[in-house]
């Protein structure tokens, strides 16, 4: 129990055992968290962002064709302003291209988006790749 008076507040009396349990659990959590981050700090070597992109869905939409994809940053550094270009390839030549920009693709994380093509890619190959990024 804490006795609160207008000023100054004063912790009095014998604390309930729950207070000590809560305190101990919190202390363990804080130590575990510091341990985790500390380990990261010691083990981590900075790897520049590296992307892999996978197409997750395609659908015809009004006035075009939507290709959804996820971009995964496999490295432990975050990339900002990631420009991704999608191209419809016909016999190895790009017949249509569209660019989009992700504000961030965080380290070890995914981000998803979609590219809208004018034409239906149909059987033709779709190539989606990251053009570049900035460091946040």
């Amino acid at each position: 129990m804490t006795t609160i008076s207008t000023r100054p507040h004063r912790e009095t009396g014998e604390p309930h055992w729950i207070e000590w349990v809560t305190g101990t659990v919190s202390a363990l959590l804080v130590v575990a968290m510091i341990g985790w981050i500390g380990l990261e700090a010691l083990m981590e070597e900075d790897l520049p962002p590296e992307f892999s992109i996978a197409i997750t869905g395609r659908a015809a939409v009004e006035g075009g064709h939507r290709v959804e994809f996820v971009i995964l940053n496999k490295a432990n550094q975050t990339a900002a302003a990631v420009v991704v270009r999608g191209e419809v390839l016909d016999g190895g030549k790009a017949v249509e291209a569209a660019d989009i920009t992700f504000d961030y693709v965080p380290a070890d994380s995914k981000a998803s988006g979609a590219i809208l093509f004018l034409q239906d890619p149909g059987e033709r190959e779709i190539r989606i790749r990251a053009l570049g990024y900035t460091d946040p």
Binding site: M1, T2, T3, I4, S5, T6, R7, P8, H9, R10, E11, T12, G13, P15, H16, I18, E19, W20, T22, G23, T24, V25, S26, A27, L29, V30, M33, I34, W36, I37, G38, E40, A41, E44, N76, T78, A80, D103, Y104, P106, A107, D108, S109, K110, A111, S112, P136
Partner: protein, 300 residues
């Protein structure tokens, strides 16, 4: 002191006047505490893209929070839960009305917007504004927090030095943690929607995060125990300092972290992020959260 103010006030405290002053203070509080968020672009955007399930949860969680907060600090000198529910309802209502008015004033609400967008924008702002309305009554009210006590319960001993907080109140441990949660929630809501929080977490190295954790905890402890602010807690005679550190500061920091996690999740800042990345963002947000939690212990 209270006798003097009571005499002065005696002339003009008819019930309607009293109610209007109370509503006015609540509205002022809603604006005072809500303005930073009402003028944050990210929150306007969140109004239409926030996941509706999460928004619903936030709005629902706010109800018991307001009731308990009202019971603790009170629009009036709330003594029963019934009154606390009434005050919480008024505060929530004021929060919604003031958010709508200010957003309309800022040109952020327009008649041709879809209804769900207008609703979302107001709803998300109503949460901090309603907390502000409750706090406004308590913090701006000063002596007047005791008005009702004089009118209603004649026998009751009124506040000696005119604080909105009763002089002597035995708080349970849970309530102390609750107050910290409210403080952390309030400051977290202020800063969480901005892009800076995740940007900072992206720029930080793990070393920064480690230092930030230590400093957050130190500030929390220092706010309450070391730096003798008005209302600072004093340790009882013979209680070692580390007792309070284990029993209050560390759990308080955990509360701030949990609130950070919840707020970031609500605003969709953690979606698809890796665990380490989530932890970093939570640590960044828990920094202001910890200050809010510590301040709440002193102010409320």
């Amino acid at each position: 002191m209270s006798s003097v103010t009571n005499v002065q006030r005696g002339a003009d405290t008819g019930p309607p006047h009293h109610l209007l002053v109370g509503l006015g203070r609540g509205a002022a509080g809603a604006m005072l505490f809500g303005m930073p968020m009402l003028m944050t672009m990210e929150l306007w955007h969140l109004g239409f893209y926030i996941d509706r399930v999460r928004l619903f949860l936030l709005l629902t969680v706010n109800i018991p929070l307001l009731i308990v907060l009202a019971h603790r600090i009170g629009f009036e000198h709330t003594s029963t839960w019934q009154e606390a529910v009434r005050d919480a309802t008024i505060a929530y209502g004021l929060g919604i009305v003031m958010s709508a008015l200010v957003l309309a004033l800022l040109g952020d609400l327009e008649p041709d917007m879809p209804f769900s967008e207008i609703l979302g924008k107001i709803a998300i702002q109503a949460v901090p504004a309603s907390i502000g309305a409750l706090l406004g009554r308590s913090q701006l009210g000063g002596q007047a927090g005791n008005d009702e006590g004089g009118d209603k319960d004649d026998g009751q001993d009124e506040g000696k030095d005119g604080d909105a907080v009763p002089d002597q109140m035995s708080t349970s441990y849970g309530r102390e943690l609750f107050l910290m949660a409210v403080g952390a929630l309030f400051l977290s809501l202020n800063v969480a929607p901005t892009e800076e929080i995740i940007l900072i977490s992206f720029k930080m190295t793990p070393w920064h995060a480690l230092v930030m954790v230590v400093i957050s905890i130190a500030i929390m402890h220092g706010f309450v125990y070391a730096v003798a602010f008005k209302g600072a807690h004093e340790l009882g005679e013979g209680t070692p300092r580390w007792h309070a550190f284990i029993r209050f500061t560390l759990p308080g920091y955990m509360v701030a972290m949990l609130i950070s996690l919840y707020v970031l999740w609500t605003f969709g800042r953690l979606d698809d992020a890796a665990p380490t990345q989530i932890l970093m963002s939570v640590i960044v947000l828990a920094f202001p959260g910890a200050i809010g939690a510590a301040a709440a212990r002193l102010i409320l």
